[in-house]
Every structure is written in structure tokens, then in C-alpha cells.
């Protein structure tokens, strides 16, 4: 997830433009060596064990290493060794941008130093298993939007980014969030979360973006906006919210439920208090993920 955060920083500071970032992001998935792949090559895990951990990861908000340790496939020490073999994903993005001639290695070193300072990550290692670092950066997103930073707000946002990485693709950049009283709807789907912490969740985008988003989610090649593309957006939101309430109920045993998702084609989205908008830029378009309280 640090790649996406670094992308946000690079855009925010004007170090790269969106086209340069998307080009680099598109090369990322081909260059990325996952922890499970290294574990197989080191003979520490079998392909079946890796598959099992990846499968669990689609349901639980946990790191790959954490799941492998829980299931007795790796020890904590082995996870640390494997992580040291892995080029951090955010450094890979930096390296691709250097290769593309956007900046030099020397500039990259300074950018990473400034990025860590900007994100208040002075002593935290940015490896993919470092939950403290992820939560520190996520807190900043809420502070930018002048939102209250609560454990559940952070959990919801972290799950949202993880759901995007797992079900749509890692080549996105979260843009700066905004707090608004109301949000004019382009096209989207909404789903209410009921219980102690009631809120409305919503995905909004234009129709072309919806087709591309749906194609990735369903692993189909949709060419037109139809009931399948709409259903894919509904399913993504439902899946993400389902994961959220499973995590909340595991943590607190509080009763929490989902309403069926509904399509909203126009009008204005508003909550009793306010809405927080998290724009996420993919190469195919920008998707707005909105929660209204």
C-alpha cells in the first residue's frame, strides 16, 4: 500500500504528473515479486500453502506473513528474512520513475527522505507488513480532511484500499480526500451500513470509468454500460462492506448489518452530518469513494 501512498505524495508535491505516474504504475505489476513467491523459491512454503494464505487474505484484513505465521507455515523470523529479500514496492515505483527519466537516484533518495518526514514515519520501516506505518499514513488522510481519526475510520479506509488492490488492481493513486456537506452524483451505487455506527457508503464515477472498473472486478471485457457493469459496482461495494462488518464484528461482537446496494443515477448525496470523499485515480479514470455520516 506504500506505493499508492507514495504516488499520492508525488502528485501532491507536483514531482510527477498523472500520466508519468500511471505509466510507472502500469509497469509495477510486472516488476513486483510477492512475499509468497519468495517463500516458494526459498523452499519455505508450498504453492498450495501460498494459495491458501492468499485466499484467506481476500477475507481477512491481515498481512500475508501474519496469516502464514498463524497457520504454522512460517515463523516470525522467517517472515523478517523474506521481507529483507523483497524490494519494498514503493522503492520499485521510485526505481521505475528513475528508469523513465523522471528523476535521478539522488533525487529519489531525497524524495523518500522528505516523504517519510511528511508522513511522520521517521523510525518506521516501510515494509508491507508494517501495520504501524500503514495506520500512521491512513491517519494523515483523515487529518487532511479534518476528520476525526478513529480506529474504525482507519479500518474502513485501510480495507477500502486493500479491496481496491485485491479486486481492481494496485495501479491506483489515492488523491487528497475532501469533506463536503453534499456530493453531486454522476453515477454510482450506495449501500447503507446499519448498527451502532450507521453510515452510507457510495462509489461514484462516470459511465466509461464504471465499465473499466467493472471489467477488472468481474475479470470480463465489458464494452458497454449495462446491467452487468452496474452489478459489478454493487458487488464490489457489497464485498468491501461485507469484509468491514466481518472485521468489526470480530473485534467488538457488535450487531452490524448491510442493506442491499442501490443504484443512484443523479441527485445529491448527503448525510446527517457530512460526507468524506476519497478520490482514487486509476489509469482508466477517477473513482470517488464516499462515506456519509
Amino acid at each position: 500500500m506504500f506505493t499508492q501512498f507514495l504516488g499520492n505524495y508525488l502528485l501532491r508535491k507536483g514531482i510527477v504528473n498523472q500520466d508519468q505516474l500511471f505509466t510507472a504504475m502500469s509497469k509495477l505489476s510486472q516488476s513486483h515479486i510477492k512475499l509468497g513467491t519468495i517463500a516458494i523459491s526459498e523452499g519455505l512454503m508450498t504453492a498450495n500453502e501460498v494459495d491458501e494464505c492468499l485466499y484467506v487474505q481476500t477475507r481477512e484484513n491481515k498481512r500475508f506473513g501474519e496469516i502464514a505465521v498463524e497457520r504454522g507455515y512460517l515463523t516470525d523470523d522467517q517472515v523478517s528474512v523474506l521481507l529483507s529479500h523483497q524490494t519494498p514496492d514503493y522503492m520499485l515505483l521510485g526505481q521505475i520513475l528513475v528508469d523513465d527519466g523522471i528523476f535521478s537516484y539522488e533525487e529519489l533518495e531525497r524524495i523518500i527522505f522528505d516523504y517519510k518526514n511528511d508522513s511522520e514515519l521517521y523510525d518506521l520501516s516501510l515494509d508491507i507488513e508494517n501495520q504501524d506505518a500503514v495506520q500512521t499514513i491512513l491517519s494523515k488522510f483523515f487529518l487532511i480532511a479534518e476528520m476525526q481519526v478513529t480506529e474504525h475510520n482507519i479500518m474502513y479506509l485501510e480495507l477500502m484500499f486493500n479491496s481496491l488492490i485485491r479486486f481492481i488492481g494496485e495501479d491506483f493513486t489515492p488523491l487528497s480526500p475532501m469533506v463536503v456537506d453534499e456530493f453531486p452524483i454522476t453515477f454510482g451505487v450506495s449501500q447503507a451500513i446499519l448498527g451502532d455506527r450507521e453510515f452510507i457508503s457510495h462509489i461514484d464515477c462516470d459511465r466509461e470509468t464504471a465499465i473499466a472498473f467493472a471489467s477488472r472486478y468481474a475479470k470480463e471485457d465489458f464494452t458497454e454500460f449495462n446491467e452487468y457493469t452496474v452489478a459489478a459496482l454493487e458487488d464490489f461495494l457489497n464485498l468491501h462492506n461485507g469484509l468491514y462488518i466481518v472485521n468489526v464484528s470480530n473485534d467488538t461482537s457488535k450487531d452490524i448489518a448491510l442493506e442491499p446496494p442501490v443504484v443512484t443515477e443523479d441527485g445529491v448525496l448527503c448525510g446527517a452530518e457530512k460526507c468524506i470523499v476519497f478520490p482514487v485515480a486509476y489509469p482508466f479514470g477517477t473513482v470517488h469513494l464516499i462515506t456519509c455520516f
Binding site: 485466499y55 481476500t58 477475507r59 479486486f167 468481474a218 446491467e227 452487468y228 452489478a231 459489478a232 454493487e234 458487488d235 457489497n238 464485498l239 462492506n241 461485507g242 469484509l243 462488518i245 466481518v246 464484528s249 470480530n250 461482537s253 450487531d255 452490524i256 448489518a257 448491510l258 442493506e259 442491499p260
Partner: protein, 126 residues
Amino acid sequence: MDITNKKILVCDDSILARKQLMDAVNEIATGATFIEGKNGAEAVEFYKNENPDIVFMDIVMPEKDGTEALAEIREYDNEATIIIVSSVGTQEQLKKAIKLGAKDFIQKPFEKNQIKEIIESRLGGQ
């Protein structure tokens, strides 16, 4: 695997989720007849009309949710084979579904292997 003459009721408000489930079944078996429902009320109605061999049903659905439909179908036929396929995999939801008579609970996104195991174990030997 040939499951000709077997009727499968797939009940989910998402047309995509229904398609993905039917595609998963068709990849491992041939000949099934599918009946599609998009809410709990249709699940109950179609079950009574069609008497399917197995039901795959979501929980979060409009009009009547999957839990209510599960209870009504089991009341009508306490031998009904109903598999819950839902994104809401909380322990509480799982216990509730099993208590009401669901034969299995699959959390979305499902793996094709999970569908394969169910089709083989529930329809394979019949």
C-alpha cells in the same frame, strides 16, 4: 460430471453474481437446469414451484433477505439443500444460517473449488 435433470436455484440480487456462480457450475458439470431469483421472495416462490435439488442463496437481498427465505423454504421442505453464499460472513450470521438449516456457508468472493466440492458432494452421488 453429468448432472442432467438436476435443478439449481441461484438466488442473488446481483445478475453478475448469479452469472459467476452458474459459470462456475458449468465449468465442472454439464446438464444442469438453472432457475434464477433476485430476492428472497422469488427464492421461496421458485422453490415451491420448481422443487430444485439445491439452492445457492445470498443473504443481503431486497424485499425479503436470504435468512427469511431460508427459514420459509426449510419450513416448507425440511430436507431442502440450501447453501448460503454471502459477503457477510460474521460468526453470528454463520451460526444463524446453520441453525435455520443451511447446509453450508460460502463467503464471497467464492473460489471455484468451493462450488465444485459442493456440487460433487451434494449432487454427484445422486
